[in-house]
Symmetry: C2
Subunit: 127 residues, 2 copies
């Protein structure tokens, strides 16, 4: 479920946060599903419990999970989180295009790139 890359420059706790956010947004982990306990996951990944605690703390702060003392950490409702992430992706896309334009690329060029990705793009796809 969680895989660490020790060669990665990013801190371990950050990799863990990133991975769980992915799993939650994509629905691999369901709403109210219980996450591995701090100590359990620390054992599995062979790292210090404090590092897991830091990751979970960050996930809770960002509202991806919620905590019940004595019971564990659980996945938050995903709706709002997913919408927020979508808006982030839209902004990233705009940012990429703006930089591209600054060095000579065109919006057209990007649109065509996207249309090549489209799986069902061969029929008439104008309204």
């Amino acid at each position: 479920m969680i895989v660490l890359d020790l060669k990665d420059a990013r801190p371990l706790y950050e990799q863990i946060v990133e991975r769980f956010k992915q799993l939650i947004l994509r629905g691999v982990l369901s709403e109210d599903e219980k996450l591995p306990s701090v100590r359990t996951l620390a054992m599995e990944l062979a790292i210090n419990p404090n590092t897991i605690q830091k990751a979970y703390g960050e996930l809770e702060r960002q509202e991806f999970i919620y905590t019940v003392k004595g019971r564990g950490n659980f996945v938050s409702p995903v709706g709002r989180l997913r919408e927020a992430r979508k808006e982030e992706l839209r902004e990233q896309m705009r940012s990429v295009v703006r930089e591209g334009e600054a060095i000579g690329m065109t919006v057209r060029e990007f649109v065509e790139l996207l249309e090549q990705m489209e799986p069902e793009g061969r029929k008439e796809h104008r309204t």
Copy 2:
């Protein structure tokens, strides 16, 4: 020309590298133009010369500038660099779209987002 953000989490030398790469790719700095000397820029930014040296070293390693000992640092030919950056942007775009699709967005949605950015998008723009 170069502006530092001390509140930025990224290292100073990295901010400097980033900024010069931008200026070079966008043609604000011309081919063979001389960069500020290590000591001069350090004075202007009120930071340590070693930090500038580290930034310039990185820029040289990435072939954005070339060095002539005793003379200074100069902007490299920009053609290849610009093409490489374009390919990076294309890949970033694909990456954004792939993640978007994983959480329920569609290529169509992204295309429409792009077309809203297009400055000349109101005429018939289908071939």
